[in-house]
Point group: C2
Chain length 380, copies 2
């Protein structure tokens, strides 16, 4: 976590166009993501969680860098990058996709935006897909242009985010559907907005297309939103683990395949296109994945914070996997976790042991997500 | 900078195998590089600089992740990745190279190690060249295996590093030449050592090949080295700017080409191999680069720390470029900087203005490096 009084390491890590605004609005700690600072602390992560689920928060997620793909072969090229069937993806639509390598390993889990027939943005988790895509293009024989445009997203998330959007853009914005995007303009600031986010709550992302206007955009949104309950905040680890949303590098990496995560719905082996990883994924599906992601409810006192190492999971004294993300949910009043276990150990309801730095705890394997507005929690 | 009492962000950022050891030995602040924490603060960066140039320091640079390339076509594939002529690179040799994209832009400036005829490591600066190389391989038709091995480097740098190496490995290690490597073993810990580093001082890198032995290796080196003057430390921004060594993302990025940096010696346009970027680099060379990196000596009081934004450089009121890295050198008692200027403005000896957050200062354009044991500083 970076202390704001002491950014001592030069220009090697980028600053977001909202950096100064977030410091003014109370950011006290930063992490690094896609070679850029991201505010991850506004004093109390539990209060930030309540702000998110009861009201609304504005989060600087400029670290979600965009990879822009244009050119006559853009649509064909983008389909090559992901196992998800894009043939019915409309202009104006967004899709959550996986980017896989030739071994079927996950390189990123971005949101894909289709801005025009042959104009896409890949809104990234934390890895240099710009390099991956440019590398794939080298010998592809396809006519595409791949670059990082001047685009810096904000997330506006929480039940009151709709009211804030209405205050900013008028009633017309209210018919923007889940995972669709629209071009808008806010006092001359050029934006794309989409109904997406990383919170499992009602929410929007606003993609600023001119970094020099970051401060103005942030202040304009807070001015309209604060009277409606909007707070400055940061993406909530509590809420995203409740919702079983992935954090790349933590819950998935280059050695993780979609089937291990139960993300079969994001792999369409029957499409004609030869996306990268197709043969490998076909083999993995036929054999069945060697590991499976599960939910865990961990016994004992509330965890003081998230796990900062991968905690071994054991059964009968044997290591059968690892906790990838763990946290205490104040809403559920339970310690919840995502874990990757050997497939043979991933039985719902089974008891396992988790080796935390403070001692071993019992845990129960449960379904994910832990909290879904449409479902009750999977444990009694 | 990450405060050690408060690693609050889960497992999304990796920890080095030396992490616990560096905390024990006084690391108080961390940055993030290649998705991994790197210690960058042991209390006083100026003292760390003196330790480096007068004695020796041991630095955790496990963030220098390795991309391993093996397979029957490995040598041919690696030559495709870099404009530097590798035809005379021997097994056991290292080379500082640039990785360029099809536009001639720099994606990384790693050290390349040749461990066997068809066995290479690319020891990375801060970008996911693993993804770039795997992407290039997809349609290359070459038989290569590209992965990140379990390898975690340390840097042992400074005038007394040779004595420490002798204490560890005996007299035989003293004939290891500059930019050559050797396989060694330290009490059963498997290592590659090379005479390389990021300090412009005498120095070595030790590539641990078993992450579980990180703590043991660190303690073994400190036990042998401390009586000889070795201190725990971190890569020194002061020394690397004195030596005009690049920091990727700060001094170079995907939109920077080798000619702008004066790194013509790393581009061999006349080799037969079609490395990526060859056509673009040929055009850039013919036209002349639009910008040139220069050294600056900045007037006024000692800078309090490195620049944390790119400072505009002006001449006659017009912006002609930017300061990419600036710092006060206590040895030279001058404020020194690397800057990227329009080619027409990059005249040695010319005066420019630098807009710092605390006001505008005058500066003089000078040759780099600022300090070279074989040269005197380029300014009077």
């Amino acid at each position: 976590m970076t202390q704001i009084q002491d950014f001592g390491f030069g220009t090697q890590i980028r600053k977001s166009p909202y950096f100064d605004a977030t410091v003014r609005w109370g950011a006290t700690g930063f992490s690094v993501y896609n070679h850029m600072y991201i505010p991850r602390d506004f004093g109390d992560p539990v209060q930030n969680f309540w702000n998110l689920i009861n009201d609304a928060i504005l989060c600087d997620v400029a670290v979600e860098r965009q990879v822009e793909i244009t050119g006559p072969d853009a649509a064909r090229f983008v389909q090559m990058l992901t196992p998800r069937d894009l043939s019915k993806m409309a202009v104006g639509q967004c899709k959550y996709v996986l980017i896989t390598n030739a071994q079927g390993g996950i390189l990123n889990d971005p949101v894909l935006l289709r801005l025009a027939e042959n104009h896409f943005w890949i809104s990234l988790a934390d890895s240099d897909i710009l390099l991956w895509a440019q590398g794939v293009a080298v010998n592809s024989g396809m006519d595409v242009t791949i670059r990082e445009p001047d685009v810096s997203p904000l997330q506006l998330q929480g039940p009151k985010s709709g009211a804030v959007m209405r205050a900013l853009f008028g009633d017309a914005i209210m018919d923007l559907r889940y995972y669709w995007l629209r071009r808008v303009d806010l006092n001359g600031i050029p934006l794309i907005v989409s109904r997406t986010g990383w919170s499992s709550e009602l929410g929007y992302e606003l993609y600023l297309q001119d970094g020099s206007r970051g401060d103005a955009l942030w202040e304009r949104i807070m001015a309209a939103g604060a009277p409606l309950g909007l707070k400055a905040g940061h993406t909530s680890s509590i809420r995203r683990i409740e919702g079983a949303m992935l954090s790349y590098h933590a819950d998935a990496d280059i050695d993780t395949n979609p089937y291990e995560l139960g993300l079969d719905r994001l792999v369409d082996l029957d499409i004609e296109a030869d996306f990268i990883g197709k043969d490998a994924l076909r083999r993995i599906k036929a054999d069945g994945p060697a590991r499976r992601q599960v939910g865990l409810v961990i016994d004992g006192a509330p965890l003081k914070g998230p796990n900062t190492t991968f905690w071994p999971v054991t059964r009968d004294g044997q290591v059968v996997g690892k906790v990838t993300s763990a946290i205490h949910s104040p809403r559920l009043d339970r310690n919840i976790a995502l874990a990757m276990l050997s497939a043979g150990s991933a039985q719902m309801g089974a008891q396992v042991q988790v080796r935390t730095p403070d001692g071993t705890r019992s845990a129960t394997i449960v379904e994910r997500p832990f909290h879904d507005p449409k479902k009750t929690i999977a444990v009694a």
